[in-house]
């Protein structure tokens, strides 16, 4: 066999290997592409685009997912969250177009149909049940706090009224949202991992490379957990601080750009 024949044979072998490898991942690839497409649509809605037709197209294309077992729990949660976002954005009213009404009904139908394992009392999975209900909105009201300053030699202990900060956001709800996102991120990262340290490594990479704040929080959480369980976490703490510094400097430059504009 000549050299060129050997190489041609090797070429065919490699090509066949790649074809089969991708074929094995075909189903998963389709799911990821579908979720990715839905995510793009949701982002479009958030940007103010009317993508009602695109949502309709997405439902038409992926309706079979409801009857098949291609979706993992993490996929269902991701889809439920994205559909929830879309439903909030389309704001159905009496004057809404038939297309919007139909999409809204379709989202509700999706949420009802895809309830399976892990159903709650009302028959819906926790994540999917969010589609039909308005997002929980808790409002904290509090007066100015009395803060006791540290004791010093020349200053008598007294109560200081702190300048009340405008309570513009609901911190409990905001923290809940971050916790949920962080949990989803953990579900995504842990998929192919065999040890929590590998998950932490990925999470730190994500925090550094993508300047992902959720990944930073997740990394901190994992590091603290590992520390409590006797692991040596110093190298990871160092990386966490690097990621934090990068994020802070990125946020700082964004803020100053905003101020300039």
């Amino acid at each position: 066999m000549s050299q060129i024949e050997s190489l041609t044979s090797l070429e065919r072998l490699l090509e066949s290997f790649l074809d089969r490898a991708v074929e094995l991942k075909e189903e998963r690839l389709e799911v990821l592409e579908g979720i990715n497409r839905l995510d793009d649509i949701a982002r479009g809605f958030l940007a103010g685009d009317d993508l009602t037709e695109d949502v309709g197209g997405w439902f038409a294309e992926h309706n079979t997912w409801l009857k098949e077992t291609v979706l993992k729990d993490a996929d269902r949660n991701r889809i439920a969250l994205i559909l929830g976002e879309i439903k909030r954005e389309i704001r159905v009213t009496e004057d809404s177009s038939p297309a919007i009404n139909k999409i809204s009904k379709e989202i509700s139908r999706w949420s009802h149909t895809s309830t399976g394992s892990g159903s709650t009392i009302d028959g819906q999975t926790p994540a999917l049940s969010k589609l039909d209900s308005k997002p929980p909105r808790l409002v904290l009201k509090r007066g100015a706090e009395n803060v006791v300053p540290p004791l010093s030699m020349d200053m008598p202990r007294r109560s200081i009224k702190q300048t009340p900060e405008p309570v513009s956001n609901d911190t409990i709800a905001m923290f809940g949202t971050v916790l949920e996102r962080t949990s989803n991120l953990f579900s995504d990262i842990k998929r192919d991992r065999e040890h929590l340290l590998s998950v932490l490594d990925d999470s730190l990479k994500s925090a550094i490379l993508q300047q992902n704040k959720d990944a930073l929080l997740l990394s901190g959480f994992i590091i603290y957990y590992l520390k409590q369980n006797g692991y040596m976490v110093e190298p990871y703490v160092k990386r966490l601080k690097e990621a934090e510094n990068m994020l802070n400097s990125a946020t700082g430059s964004t803020d100053s750009a905003k101020r300039r504009s």
């Binding site: 190489l7 790649l18 075909e26 990715n36 990925d202 993508q210 992902n212």
Partner: protein, 82 residues
């Protein structure tokens, strides 16, 4: 949702499915920092790279004088000609 690296991995697999191996390598390279320790990712990336190297060697040995002009698109934008 999907982070840019996951998205690039996804696109790399799709490129392999369409036998666009050079585009696949570009996507693999984009995704590499995130998937550095993923053995499956490494295997697919290196196999694709090897396939391209084998093809280049075949072209040299076969004295292939044909010039293949192919447009390569990345994220819907023209990236380069080869």
């Amino acid at each position: 949702m999907l982070n840019p690296s996951e998205k690039a991995y996804c696109l790399a697999l799709r490129a392999i499915r369409q036998k666009q191996y050079r585009a696949a390598i570009d996507y693999f390279d984009k995704a590499a920092p995130f998937f550095q320790e993923n053995k499956e990712f490494g295997l697919l990336q290196e196999t694709t790279r090897l396939l391209l190297a084998v093809r280049a060697e075949i072209a040299v040995l076969g004295n292939d004088d044909d010039i293949i002009v192919e447009e390569v698109f990345s994220d819907g934008k023209e990236a380069k000609f080869r």
